[in-house]
Symmetry: C2
Subunit: 364 residues, 2 copies
Amino acid sequence: MPHRERTLMGPGPGNPYPEVIEAFSRPVLGHLDPDFIALLDETNERLRQVWRTENRLTFPVSGTGSAGMEAAFVNVVRPGDPVVIGVNGVFGERMCDVAARCGADVIRVEAPWGQPIDPQRLLDAHPSPAIIAVVHAETSTGVRNDVAPLADRPDGTLLLVDCVTSLGGIPVTVDEWRVDIAYSGTQKCLGVPPGLSPLTFSDAAVDRIVERPSSWYLDLNMIARYVTGEGARAYHHTAPISMIYALHAGLGVLLDEGLDASWARHAACGMALHQGLEAMGMELFAADTHRLPELTTVWVPEDLPDGLDDATIRRTLLDTYGIEIGGGLGEFAGRVWRIGLMGHTARQRNVTLLLGALGEVLGR
Amino acid sequence: MPHRERTLMGPGPGNPYPEVIEAFSRPVLGHLDPDFIALLDETNERLRQVWRTENRLTFPVSGTGSAGMEAAFVNVVRPGDPVVIGVNGVFGERMCDVAARCGADVIRVEAPWGQPIDPQRLLDAHPSPAIIAVVHAETSTGVRNDVAPLADRPDGTLLLVDCVTSLGGIPVTVDEWRVDIAYSGTQKCLGVPPGLSPLTFSDAAVDRIVERPSSWYLDLNMIARYVTGEGARAYHHTAPISMIYALHAGLGVLLDEGLDASWARHAACGMALHQGLEAMGMELFAADTHRLPELTTVWVPEDLPDGLDDATIRRTLLDTYGIEIGGGLGEFAGRVWRIGLMGHTARQRNVTLLLGALGEVLGR
């Protein structure tokens, strides 16, 4: 099977940092080896820096981003708990599904796809919800939802934020925003292949962990004894060693660059892409006040040359240029493209390449 | 941080095949890329060969072995279902915990640690259970439980088998044994780092999948639409691309060698280790009729030289010889060692090395 190389400009995975692929060649260690435990501890410390948190319970869940989402809800939701969830895309919908399976009384606060959710509406939806949950960066629409104003919520209400597509790409400050629970994915702005979901729980969230979550695999009561190193290191499940090497390396690249520099690089690349697409006469999809730099959504032009449509254009980009971009979801399938500039992919050269390729294919 | 190399002779992970580490350097593709889908299809076809099954729903769960266990139960257990579970070690206990969280009425069939479970007792435990579940290779004790006789169970009872430490190391024939649900882990006898859990569901098991499992991440109704390729490839969660490359490569190594040859190699190495330990005057732990070749359990000698105990000996093996072996669990902590010969680790040279190192440390 040939090894074809892609410029990964879809909604994730992005291209991994070269140092990350190198890390996969580290000799495999056992999950209780002192050298591995030291590497895991260092990984978790790097995660705390990236999350901008002091939370002790900060580690990568052994699954992709959606496993992080499930771990976030299944550990704290009790049957009948009122849970306010912002819904303006696929991942807000997914939160509702996950929370409902945990027995939550889900209170939806909706906004149209492409528009942000007004945080005041989340605060007003219920007088004392157990949880307010929102997606920071909606991967389905390219919209940023504001999180900072949710710091002013009722005492006793946990704030749960999906940072899958935001962490590393735009500012995320868990402690300053008083976020209690947040999760991310490795394959977006962290520049690591998919496979792990960084998760962080505040002390208030830890205090609310249920005694026996419906999931054994994601039960934080037990996982915490392995990952935090408090007391004896009790084995729970075998950690995915090589993926943790990869994450450790990716976080090293990110911290060496610096979070501010990474955010600025993502912002500059996103801006260049937005401007380039508009200069080609294309119309951006997401509300202009809340556009993500790391994920751009744009309407598929309606005046396409004969024989071209969403699918043929994306296939040509893939086959001729080795570029992957993403299609729209739900009612926007075939009508919107999703273009990622995440992690190592967030480079001006990739913006230039894509604009050039699109220009050639569209004849613009 | 230095890259120390280990001979991984604990209860897993074992050392990965060199081809597996090489596969991690394949360029990352998107989870909907036609090239990746082709590789995933080929991986699943290789898994069918290794499981000896025609089951269409055969794929790697995006988590470690315990995620496979959870996927096995959470998709088919309905509240109140009678579920018979064989318990003669940690992983049988874990099955009870997982099944109970799904609402099962768990019927335990116990045997002492180190002894196998009589399959007739599993068949007699309930007239018509929803599920009979057993661990094929108990990683905590080194005991093999017989699965083949469970083919003669009542119609309508699903047979669920934990093959985490058996697949690739000793004969597993899903279709011949009429196993309905089986899962494994990549880091044992498949010679791949931890991170994925190969899972297979018979058509009868597929027919019993509940409408809405408590886990979204492991919901086979949705995952099947992505992994089986029937109808449109609907995205569920982002597949762990690089780990699937690794598994694809490891299965290739195993099938190139041949299952019969792999089983014979594990058997020969296990036998050599058993004989070598006994020749040193040590006593094996597991019942002699049901010893696993890929995981040997042996009593820590009671007449140790001054200053030596379980912990110091294992630490010396690690620090001086770079060999990891495992300690005992539960009441056998400090009293039993668990020595793995799994996948790429199952080589005569490793048997020779360990026996030599143990001889030097113990002065035998």
